[in-house]
Structure formats: C-alpha cells, structure tokens
Symmetry: C2
Amino acid sequence: MLSERQMMILRAVVRDFTNTGVPVGSKALAKQLPIHVSSATIRNEMAALEELGLIKKTHSSSGRIPSVEGYRYYVDHLVKPDPLRPNDMDVIQSSLGGDFHKIDEIISQSATILSNLTSYTAFTLKPELKDSRLSGFRLVPLGKRQVMAILVTDSGDVENQTFDVNESVTGDQLEAVVRLINDQLVGLTLPEVVKKLQADIPMKIANYLQSPQGFLDIFGDVLTRAAQERFYVGGRLNLLNFSQDSDVDSLKSLYSLIDKTDDIANVLGRPDDKISVQIGNEMTNDALRNFSLITATYDVNQHGRGMIAILGPTRMPYSRMLGIVGAFREELAKKLLDYYRFYDE
Amino acid sequence: MLSERQMMILRAVVRDFTNTGVPVGSKALAKQLPIHVSSATIRNEMAALEELGLIKKTHSSSGRIPSVEGYRYYVDHLVKPDPLRPNDMDVIQSSLGGDFHKIDEIISQSATILSNLTSYTAFTLKPELKDSRLSGFRLVPLGKRQVMAILVTDSGDVENQTFDVNESVTGDQLEAVVRLINDQLVGLTLPEVVKKLQADIPMKIANYLQSPQGFLDIFGDVLTRAAQERFYVGGRLNLLNFSQDSDVDSLKSLYSLIDKTDDIANVLGRPDDKISVQIGNEMTNDALRNFSLITATYDVNQHGRGMIAILGPTRMPYSRMLGIVGAFREELAKKLLDYYRFYDE
DNA sequence: TTTTAGCACTCAAACAATACAAGTGCTAAG
DNA sequence: CTTAGCACTTGTATTGTTTGAGTGCTAAAA
C-alpha cells in the first residue's frame, strides 16, 4: 500500500516522463510538487518506490522512469481521464457529421479520426451480432464470362467476389447452384456452413457442374472472408514515429501483425464494458514490447457492440488518451444509433 | 565518347559499388580488372570520368561512387541483363502455376512474386484496353435495406459497392434507375459518362427518386474507381530496408506516394515497348531521390498491354534486376494468354 | 522518527586529441 | 603513355577529459 505522498510522486514521475521522455530526478520533482519537501526526501521515497518495482533507473545515477508495473498502478489507481479539448470534440463531430451510406464507412472513418486525434495507430471494429448466419447467396452474371458471387449474412455483412467462368457453364447451372446453396445453407451459422461445405455439398453440386472445385474455392473464399471480423486501421504510418533506433526488423513484424486480422483480433481481445489498457509486455506479442494498447467497446443496443482501440508507445499520455477514447466511443455510438434509426424504418 | 578502358572502369565501379555499397578506390580496381595497369593509371582514368560527371567522390580522399549520370551511362551502354537464376525461374513458374479465377488475382500475385524475387517493392498493372466503355450497370437488392451497385466495363473491370437505402425506396424505383443508366450511358467511355453525370442525368433521375443525391454519390464513387487504373503493390515493407539514417519523414512521404494511385501512375509513365530505368532524381518526385525504378510492359496481343515495375535503391544490381524484369514479363504474358485462351471460348 | 544538508560517487554525453587506413593528386622518371 | 613514389586529405575508431545531472549515505536538525 502506497502512502499519499508516494502516490503523488509516482503520478508526477509518470506525468513528467510521458510528457518529456526524459528520466525524472528528485530535484525536478521537489520543485514541481505541491508539498514542500527537499530533494533528499523525495529521493528516499523514490528509493522506496523503486524497491516496490514501480519505477526504475536507466543507469545507476540517472533519474527514474516508470516500470511496466508503475504504469499499471498509475492507470489503475492514479489517472483521471482528461476532459476532451473543445477542438477535439469539434473534429469528432464534424468528421462524423457527414452522410454515410454504409456502416463500414462510419467505422472506417472512425479509425482515421482516432488516429488523427491521437497521432497513434487506431483500430475499429463494427458492431458484431454474435453467431451471424448466412442469409442469402447470389450469383450475378455480369457479361460473357464474368460472374459475381455475393454472400449476405443476417448481421448485414456482405462479401462478394467476381470470377471468370468457362462459357460452357450455363445460366441454368448457375441458378441450380444458387438454389442448392440457399436451400441447404441459408439460416445456418457460418461455422456450420463451413462444415457442411466440406461434407455433403460438394457431391450435390457435382450434379450440376462438371468441375465444382473452382466454384467451391470461390464460395469458400467469400465465406471465410465473411466469417472474419474485419478491423479498420487508421494512421498506420504513425508507427514509424516510434521505431526507436530504427529497428527495421521489429517494425516489419509490427506491420505484419497489424495486417493479420486474426493476430490483431487476438491482441485486442473480447468486448468488455470497461476501457482497458494493456501495457508493454503485458501483451504476449513481442513486437508490442514498447507499445501500449487502449481498447474500449461501444454499445449500440440491439445492434450489438463494437470495439475501438489505439496503439501507441508505452510512454503515452494516458490521461489524455483515456479521455479521447472515452468520449469517442460515446460519439460513435450516438452516430450509429442515428444511422440505424434512419435506415431501419 | 569514352574509351574502352574507361567503359571497363565505369562498369567495374558500378558493379562493385552496387554489390558492396562501399566507394571503390583505384587500388581495388587495379587488382580486379582483367587488364594489367597500375593503380596510378586507373586514378588518371577515374579523374577523367569524374571530369565527365560520371563518377564522384564522397569526400576529397575517398573512393568513387557512380553519379546519377554514371548509372545512366551504365544502364544505357554497359549493362547486359543477367540470365535468370534457375531457382528464380522455378519460383516464377510455381507461383504463377496455380489455378486463377480472375485476372486480378494473377496480377496481384505477380506483384508479390516480383517483390520476393528482388526484395524490393513491386508494382503491377493489368492489361488495359484503352478508352474502356461502360458496358453494364446493376442494382442488386440484398436484403431489407441493402443494395449493391455493380458497374461493368467492356474491358472486364468490375466495381461494386453496397449501400443502405431507406425502406421508402421501392424495387420499381431502383429498376427504373437502372434502366435509365443503361439506356443513357452504356456504350460511352468513362469520361463521357462522368460528363453526362454532371449534366442531364440528375434531372432525369429526379423523376424516380425524391433525393437522388445519395444515389449519385454512390454511382459517382463506383465510376471513379472504375476509371482509375489500379496498381497492385507487393513488398511494401521492403522500403523500410533502404530508409537510410531512418529518416521517418521521407519514409512517410514515400508510403503516401505509393498509396496514391494517381501519383504512382504518374511516376510509372505510359506503356512503351522497352524496359526503362529511371534513376534517382531523374524522377521529379523528391521522395524518390535515392531510388531507382525499372518499368516494363508486357503484351497480351488483342487483350492489351500491362505494366510491371520494381522500385529499389539507386544502388541496385541493375543487371540482375533487368534480367528478372525481362524474364518475368514474358512469363506473365504467357500465363495471361493461357488464361484468356481458357476462358474466352 | 522524519526530514534535511552535505558530500562522495556514478554515469552519459559532449568534446578533443590521436592514430590509422584508404584513398587521392601530382611529379618525375621509365 | 605509364608508373613509382610521396605528400596530403579525410573518415573512422579509440581514448581521455570535462561537465552536469542525479544518486545513496551519513550525520545533524526538527
């Protein structure tokens, strides 16, 4: 259990260090703190905090910087989200103010806004209806040899893909295939569809197409794309700002990470009401060692819940970031509710 | 006009420097060259080459490196494309060997292959039928409130977009709009379509929809996407390898550049039979100062011509790269001809 | 018991001095 | 025209020095 004064010092160390990036020493603290004590006293307290593992030195005679545990304590007990700057609120409202014709535009735009506000990298995920089901499948002939496959789920996700077919395939055959899919698979959850697709569907399709494999590839492809949650990413390039000592390899693995849907889903975790902060190596992924991730859900009632997140250096101004994330999730939820209200009835 | 010996020296300087990255001095050259002359002689020749602006020193007593003009001379007169390594040919053939269901897959895969072979960044552009025309437009209702707009051009490009509509819009209205578009716009070139879209179409559509703006936005959006050439990019991350002194700003502008279709189209230029090399500041764009770009067209007869390109450091092994690009464009053309042959009749 | 002044000590960063290696241009002789 | 020889230039690496910020510890003051 920390004393009041220790808390005050820890808070000041984190604040100072996240602002300046320079290890903070006892004298600077003594000058800055509201209480009047000498630097020697501060030193004693800092030694105690170091003993507890909350702060550490970069070398034997340097000032202190927070350890991961120190950030953790700060985030859990000491920080208070900053109120949003008026200007930031203007940015949010004007960027979300326009007319949108699809959910995805709003969500994708949100990632951009968040990255602009923070100058970090932002992720957004649209509201998810869990266990979404296949609600429709179409094959639309587009020309002599092109066909578009469209798959719709009951959560409103649409995936499509065009492909070329041999002219020997007739419209009747295509229709038969569509009918088969719709009869057999509509209403099932996507994992169930995948299962059936590996089991009895191929044989049935073989009745209508000589070489069903090509078609099955396409359908499977569209299906897996639909089954994946898709994150939007904003401010990718901002990661470059924090590549300390220009370590190309870790940058590369970082970028590979954020472009792999599965991996990033893993890191972000599941929706959960709180705003949560993961710091440095609290995330198992090694590429994220020097980063922190703030995730939050937003709630659009019966339309489900989505997520937003920002990824920045461990040394980020948490109070400001928490303020931004907190405010943004509310604005986004409002916007989406407006949107649904307009299109739903 | 250079003497034989000067050419030999220039060639050796470029070879050596592109291999090692170290400025090359007279002694090293004397040892390496097939003729037997002393380093002093080489020095005299190098002084002459420097006088001509083909090579330069990094500081007053350093070895020489090629200037942009030196690379230019080398590329124009001295280089001979390396024959492809057997292993590289295997990579190409196996990567292009699979079954593809659309042109874009082949082209996109090509960018990946090229970037793997070279460990640089690669661009590919599919064969273009110039002046492509609008050949069809569809609106496909997907559910209660979702509609997909699909636009097809006679060059086989397909663009689509889903959007949400208010339920007050009826299927009849949509059909009327589709008929209008197809009657008035099909057969025109895309620029003509754009023009008409700004002129008389909005009024006509207003007969069927109360608020045509939303629809016009969507259509316009899909249209401009279709009108743009779309490049595929492979090996984006490889750019990180050449960010000398980790200059974050120039990296950022580089990445912004390659993600802007218009800009990159500008840099790559127009199709042209030769394999062409642009070196360093021969490209007007400042972000490319330390890069070279090798572009080539490939030709698929009546199906038009496309482009491939690789972007790497000015200091790249040109002979090997020219070999790869030359071989790859042939393999790609073959693959595409096969593809068209299969799907065309 | 807590706080504080004082002091010796540590370390990174900046700077200067030095030596070294690689390379150059120039001159004079072959 | 070529070459050996030599004085000269410059980047790099190494080493030592100084400076300043910061620390821990001790002993006295509160």
